[in-house]
C-alpha cells in the first residue's frame, strides 16, 4: 500500500511542478571588455513554453532589482531552454501523465549511471525496473488501484518499450539541441548563468555534461543554479569551487516523493533537501513552485537560491574577464584605409628604403584562434630605433561581435627582426570592430618585412 501511495503521489505531483525566479548581486564594475553573463532558464515538467518564459522574465526582474543586468550590448540577452514535457496536446491526459513519469524515470536512470552511454544497458534495466509495477501493486484495490490501472504489466511493457526508445530519442535530441545552442553562445566568448528547476535540473545536467565533454575549453563559461532538485547530483563546472549550487525545500512534496520513489527503485535519489520554506497552504501547497517557493526572498529557500545564483554570476564575471573564445570568422581587408606608418601607405619604399606589403593570404577566410590573455586596453611602447605602426581596417566581418582582439606577427626575408614589443595599441578605431593598430618597435632594420594579422 505504501508503494502504491508513492507511485500515485508521483503521478499527481509531477503535474504541479512549476518555476521561480532569481536574483543576485554584482560586486564592482565588469571589466570593460567583458559582457555581463546571459541568463538562462530550463523548465521542469508540465510547463508550457509561455510558463517557462514567464519564469525567466520574472527571474530577470528579481535580478534587475539586485543590480544585475542582462547584457544589452548583445543581439540576444537571455535564453529559455524550453523542454516540452508531458503536456502534448495530441496525447490523452492519462498518456501525458504517463509520458511525464516515464521521462523522469528515464532521466533518473540516466543520471544514476552518470549519463554514460557505455552504461546504456544498465540505464535501460533501471528504467524498466522503475516503470513495471510489482504484482502486489497490481492486486491493490480501491481508488488508488483504479488510478493506476493503466499500469498493468502488459500495458506497461508495451508502453515502456515505446517510451524507452521514444523518450530516450526525444531527450537525446533535445540534449543535442541544447548543446548546439550552448556552443553558439559560449564559443563567442559570452558567459551564461543558468537556472534550472525540477525536472529541468535533470535535463540541464545532461546537456551541460555533454557540452563539457565536447567542448571542455568553454565549460567554465557557464554556471548552473538548481532549484527543486529532481537530479541526484549537481553538475559542476570543472574546477569550480562552488560546492553548494542547489536548493531544495524540505517541504517540497514533489521532490520528496520522487526521491523516495527513486530510492525504492534502486535509482539514485534526488539530492537531499537543504532549505526550508514554510508550508504555503494557499500560495503553493506542494512547496515546489519556482517563483512562489524558490524565489520567495522572505524564506530560506529564496535567499539561499539567490545567493547561489549570485555566486555563480560573480564567478563568471571574475574568472572569464581575461579569457575570450571566438568562433570561426571571415573577413576582408579594407585596403583603402589599411597602411603602415610613418610611411602612410600600403606598399612602396619606406623611410629607410625598405619595401612593405600586405600579405594577400589575409583575404582568405581565417580560422580564429583562442586567446587566453586578452589585452583590453592595448600596449604602448617606447621606440628604440624604429617604430612602425600597422593600422588595419577589416571589412565583411561575418560576426563583428566575435572580433575581440587583433594581433600581428612579422616575418622577415632575412634575419629575425628583434622585436621588443608587438601589440595592439589602438582598437577598435572609432568603434569599428576589426580596426586597430599594431606597433612594431625594434632595435635595428632588416631587408624586408611583412605583417600578418591574426584575429582573435
Amino acid at each position: 500500500m505504501k508503494t502504491i501511495l508513492k507511485k500515485t503521489l508521483t503521478f499527481l505531483l509531477l503535474v504541479s511542478i512549476s518555476f521561480s525566479s532569481i536574483a543576485f548581486a554584482v560586486t564592482g564594475p565588469a571589466p570593460v571588455c567583458l559582457s555581463t553573463p546571459h541568463l538562462g532558464f530550463t523548465n521542469g515538467i508540465q510547463n508550457t513554453s509561455e510558463q517557462a518564459v514567464h519564469s525567466l522574465v520574472i527571474l530577470r526582474q528579481h535580478a534587475k532589482a539586485r543590480g544585475m543586468v542582462s547584457p544589452s550590448n548583445k543581439d540576444v540577452s537571455d535564453y529559455v531552454f524550453y523542454h516540452q514535457k508531458g503536456i502534448n496536446g495530441t496525447e490523452s491526459r492519462i498518456t501525458s501523465f504517463l509520458l511525464d513519469v516515464m521521462e523522469v524515470y528515464w532521466q533518473l536512470a540516466q543520471a544514476t549511471v552518470n549519463n554514460d552511454p557505455a552504461k546504456e544497458q544498465q540505464a535501460m534495466q533501471l528504467f524498466f525496473k522503475t516503470v513495471l509495477p510489482s504484482s502486489s501493486d497490481a492486486s491493490t484495490s480501491g481508488m488508488l488501484a483504479n488510478m493506476l490501472q493503466f499500469l498493468t504489466q502488459a500495458q506497461n511493457e508495451r508502453i515502456a518499450l515505446t517510451m524507452y526508445t521514444g523518450i530516450g530519442g526525444t531527450l537525446l535530441d533535445t540534449t543535442a539541441k541544447d548543446v548546439a545552442k550552448l556552443y553558439s553562445i559560449l564559443s563567442k566568448g559570452d558567459t551564461l548563468m543558468m537556472a534550472a528547476h525540477s525536472q529541468g535540473t535533470l535535463s540541464a545536467n545532461a546537456a551541460l555534461q555533454e557540452f563539457a565533454k565536447q567542448y571542455p575549453q568553454f565549460a567554465s563559461q557557464v554556471r548552473l543554479a538548481s532549484a527543486g532538485m529532481a537530479a541526484p547530483n549537481v553538475w559542476q563546472t570543472p574546477g569550480s569551487i562552488v560546492a553548494n549550487t542547489y536548493v531544495t525545500n524540505t517541504n517540497d512534496l514533489v521532490i520528496d516523493t520522487i526521491r523516495d520513489l527513486a530510492r525504492s527503485k534502486s535509482l539514485a535519489p534526488s539530492a537531499v533537501a537543504n532549505a526550508t520554506h514554510p508550508v504555503a497552504l494557499f500560495a503553493d501547497i506542494t512547496g515546489h513552485d519556482f517563483t512562489k517557493i524558490y524565489l520567495d526572498e522572505s524564506a530560506e529557500t529564496g535567499t539561499k537560491f539567490m545567493q547561489i545564483f549570485s555566486n555563480g554570476y560573480t564567478q563568471l564575471l571574475k574568472e572569464n574577464s581575461a579569457k575570450v573564445f571566438v568562433a570561426d570568422l571571415t573577413y576582408t581587408v579594407d585596403f583603402s584605409r589599411t597602411r603602415w606608418t610613418p610611411e602612410n601607405r600600403i606598399s612602396g619604399p619606406d623611410g629607410f628604403g625598405f619595401t612593405t606589403s600586405i600579405s594577400q593570404t589575409q583575404l582568405s577566410p581565417t580560422t580564429i584562434r583562442e586567446v587566453y590573455s586578452l589585452s583590453c586596453g592595448g600596449n604602448s611602447t617606447t621606440p628604440i630605433l624604429k617604430s612602425y605602426d600597422f593600422t588595419f581596417f577589416l571589412g565583411g566581418l561575418s560576426n563583428p561581435d566575435a572580433v575581440v582582439s587583433v594581433a600581428g606577427t612579422i616575418t622577415m626575408s632575412a634575419v629575425t627582426y628583434p622585436v621588443t614589443k608587438l601589440g595592439l595599441v589602438n582598437s577598435p578605431i572609432g568603434g569599428i570592430p576589426g580596426a586597430g593598430t599594431i606597433r612594431l618597435t625594434g632595435t635595428t632594420g632588416t631587408p624586408a618585412y611583412t605583417a600578418t594579422l591574426s584575429i582573435f
Binding site: 501511495l5 503521489l9 499527481l12 505531483l13 503535474v15 504541479s16 511542478i17 512549476s18 518555476f19 525566479s21 523548465n43 521542469g44 508540465q46 510547463n47 508550457t48 513554453s49 509561455e50 510558463q51 518564459v53 514567464h54 519564469s55 525567466l56 522574465v57 520574472i58 530577470r60 526582474q61 542582462s70 544589452s72 543581439d75 540576444v76 540577452s77 537571455d78 535564453y79 529559455v80 531552454f81 524550453y82 516540452q84 503536456i87 502534448n88 496536446g89 495530441t90 539541441k177 541544447d178 545552442k181 528547476h197 525540477s198 517541504n251 512534496l253 520528496d256 516523493t257 523516495d260 497552504l281 494557499f282 503553493d284 501547497i285 506542494t286 513552485d289 517563483t291 512562489k292 524565489l295
Partner: protein, 181 residues
C-alpha cells in the same frame, strides 16, 4: 514526508483544473466552458475555416481576442500601455492556438515573437503588480478554456519542444502584431 503533507497534497492536486507551473495569482480569471458561436469573423489571422472561427470564440469587435478575454484584460490591467501589450499577447496566444489546430511546424522566429510579447507584458505589468501579476498559467486557463482550445494550444507548444527562446534586453522593441496564418 508526513502523511498529513501527502494527504494535503492529494487534496490540492485533485482540485486542480489544469496542470502546469508558473506563477499563480490569487485571482481566477473568468472563462467560458464551451465554444460560443461566433458573431463576426476576425480578419487579423487571415482566412479561417468555420471550425477555426468557432475555436476563437465570440469576438464581437473582431480584434482577434475573445470578448471575455478582452474584458478580463481591461479589468485586470489599469494602465493603457499594459492593456495594449496584454491584448497583443492575447492575439499571439490565439494565433499559436490556431497554428496548433493546423498542426504545422513551429519556427524559432514565431516562438521568439510570442516570447517577446510575453516578456514585454511582464515587464510592464511587473512595475505595478510585482510578483502578484497573473501567471502564464492564468492566461492559458483563460484563453484555452475548452478541451479543443487546450489541445490546439498544447499541440503548438509540443511542436516547439527543444526550441530555445531568445529574450532581448528590451523585449518591447521586438513586439509586432500577429501575421496572417
Amino acid at each position: 514526508m508526513s502523511l498529513i503533507k501527502r494527504s494535503l497534497l492529494i487534496m490540492a492536486l485533485c482540485g486542480l483544473s489544469a496542470c502546469g507551473g508558473g506563477d499563480t495569482s490569487t485571482t481566477s480569471p473568468p472563462g467560458n466552458t464551451t465554444v460560443e458561436p461566433p458573431i463576426k469573423t476576425t480578419v487579423i489571422y487571415g482566412a479561417l475555416s468555420s471550425a477555426e472561427i468557432a475555436l476563437i470564440g465570440k469576438d464581437a469587435d473582431t480584434n482577434g481576442i475573445r470578448d471575455d478575454v478582452d474584458a478580463w484584460i481591461l479589468a485586470t490591467f489599469k494602465d493603457s500601455a499594459t492593456q495594449t501589450i496584454a491584448k497583443t499577447r492575447a492575439q499571439w496566444l490565439t494565433w499559436a492556438m490556431l497554428r496548433g489546430a493546423r498542426n504545422v511546424p513551429v519556427t524559432t522566429s514565431e516562438t521568439n515573437k510570442i516570447a517577446a510579447a510575453n516578456a514585454c507584458w511582464i515587464e510592464k505589468a511587473y512595475s505595478t503588480m510585482g510578483d502578484g501579476l497573473p501567471g502564464a498559467n492564468d492566461w492559458e486557463a483563460l484563453l484555452f478554456n475548452t478541451h479543443l482550445r487546450a489541445v490546439a494550444y498544447l499541440t503548438w507548444d509540443a511542436n516547439s519542444d527543444g526550441i530555445v527562446r531568445e529574450i532581448h534586453a528590451n523585449p518591447c522593441n521586438d513586439v509586432i502584431g500577429v501575421p496572417t496564418l
